[in-house]
Symmetry: C2
Subunit: 352 residues, 2 copies
DNA sequence: TTGTAAGCGTTATCAC
DNA sequence: GTGATAACGCTTACAA
């Protein structure tokens, strides 16, 4: 039989031959807990180096039924939060020799289904996904999938299985309450279009609920771009907002980049922040600390999300190993809730 | 034999049995160019759906000797440029059913070697890497690796193999010349520490060469953080720069986020930009268009880098398939050079 | 167009 | 502690 292309010249068999032992012994010598005599192991590791042997995990995975992959579905990579989270997740998982397979949906649920299938072909040991409104078909897929599913960045009403996140609704509600407590009444909101079932939508609804509950007008809302809103889009939205509701005394933005765009317009129009209008974002991105004035925001630690998700994955994985029998599959699920922090900076007037 | 865990219940064998054919026929029916009668294919696809069969690419890869992976080594994901590039790369590669394996080095060359090994275990069909000064050991590894290597974001003096990028030195040189042409003389530079052999270092050297060549003082340089410089770090660097060289009339920053940090300080000190001091970044990040004033910068299209890299990969891959014999391996290499664009905005005074 | 047989490179299992 | 053997689920090569 002729194969089209050689992966690599050296196989475990070659190492075994050179070291004068069987492939099983080589395999054991390279495992973490392989029971091999110290002498043999040394000899094998030396041979491995000499031959420049690099194990083939494709073969290993197939044989051991463990791919070593964790699939991660993101809306986008171009987002400081998500990038930080990926960073933390990668590093934590690497400690357990797990590797991320990353896919992005571009905030399009249509892409999600295709992506889930693609990922499942690699037989990941867990599926991590940013909550953002799945299609019915995708939900079905996710629920039918035979690996643990972990949703991030939200504390959903109807979780698929495990979750690590916080209630975007409650966080936005709390921030809105705080704005009101500072004396703002005619608060506007800059958000995204088509935000049903998404974190952005939850934030908008949190804002509106808090306004309504306080007896204030919850109607000063501009939903501009389809997700994600760009700085430019937010700038335009801000313009619309000011033109439609000249009485506005504060603007709450669905994200920090959106707030940055809004600030850009306010500066252009020479509207003083916070003296004429207060401003507030969501996410605590780095830039918000360095604008003039710095932008108030809702802070969540993306690194913590990533780390907690990794810990959860490892925990689940170990449990699975213990309950080896592969019995019915206990339908336990963990829900880690983070607490976002309201961060007040000079873009808002101080509490009276 | 008992395996510890079942990947998935349904295998190709099951599909074959249910469809009343051999696994080979199922395999063919699922391939792009599989020669199967339309009737059989339909029957098989129907069975696939009914059983919820998801092919196991681990097995497929092992058998076909094609992993379907492209390894990508990044310094960081938390960078708008790199995120955009990953985005484009992912999408283009997906068209050819290739998937990215992403690793990040945190700008630490020590991590690079470990990472290369990890990646090679998955038998990627190409290795894509952001140029940023490899250690000798890593260079050796990269040169010995039996897959095509593509370096991005630089046009290096001593490329490993293929490259897609531009000369950071020349780009910074050109921008510095332009600054001088605008009448700036006491130009300062905010860069990163330990930038030897990196793109940041090339930019700094380009700046210094242009200054020296113009008979100006190239010594007004502050190298602050180890890479990557943060907004905060740049802000501090700007402070040092102003304190050390009060005569400065313009500041060139190694990146746009650095320029953003510098601007933050200038605003805090109420130093007018560009009237008192000009400002310039590198990279054309989105934020630079929305500051006040907008920041001049050197623009490169990250999406193009990603797309060109993908095209290159596919081209190489096809060539490999044609020259099937696996003969000596023609040592061809392609070098795609992009042209950065100098983008002048209101942070610099106009050309006299 | 379809099927048969033989691996791909590793690890699980069980015997020694 | 070590080895022989049989998978893992798929595709290549070749035969029909």
């Amino acid at each position: 039989m002729k194969q089209p292309k050689q992966y690599s010249k050296v196989t475990m068999r070659d190492v075994a031959a050179a070291a004068g032992c069987s492939t099983m012994t080589v395999s054991r010598a390279l495992q973490k807990d392989g029971r091999v005599s110290e002498k043999t192991r040394k000899r094998i590791l030396k041979t491995v180096k000499e031959l420049g042997y690099v194990p083939d995990m494709t073969a290993g995975s197939l044989s051991s039924m463990r791919s070593g992959f964790i699939a991660l579905l993101l809306p986008s990579l171009n987002n400081q939060h998500l990038a930080e989270m990926v960073h933390a997740l990668t590093d934590e998982l690497a400690k357990a020799d797990l590797q991320l397979l990353i896919g992005h949906t571009d905030y399009l649920s249509s892409k999600e289904e295709r992506l889930i299938e693609m990922m499942m072909r690699r037989r990941p040991e867990a599926l991590v996904i940013c909550y953002d409104g799945h299609t019915e078909q995708a939900m079905k897929l996710l629920k039918s999938v035979s690996v643990p599913v972990i949703e991030l960045w939200e504390d959903p009403d109807a979780p698929i299985q495990h979750t690590v996140g916080f209630s975007n609704f409650k966080a936005a509600y709390a921030m809105t309450e705080a704005l009101i407590a500072r004396g703002y009444q005619a608060i506007g909101f800059i958000g995204e279009a088509c935000d049903d079932g998404t974190r952005a939508g939850a934030r908008r609804k949190g804002f509106q609920a808090a306004m309504t509950d306080a007896g204030l007008d919850a109607g000063r809302v501009i939903q501009h771009d389809v997700m994600p809103i760009s700085i430019e889009g937010a700038k335009q939205a801000c313009e619309e907002l000011l033109d439609s509701f000249p009485e506005i005394d504060c603007i709450f933005c669905v994200s920090d980049p959106a707030a940055f765009g809004a600030l850009s317009l306010l500066q252009e129009r020479e509207i003083a922040v916070p003296d004429a209008i207060g401003l507030c974002g969501f996410g605590n991105f780095e830039i918000s600390r360095f604008t003039h004035p710095p932008i108030s925001t809702v802070g969540v630690d993306a690194t913590v999300v990533g780390r907690k998700a990794a810990e959860l994955i490892l925990r689940i994985r170990n449990e699975d190993n213990e309950g080896e029998a592969g019995d019915g599959g206990q339908q336990m699920s963990e829900h880690l809730r983070l607490k976002p922090e309201l961060m007040f900076r000079r873009s808002l007037k101080p509490q009276p």
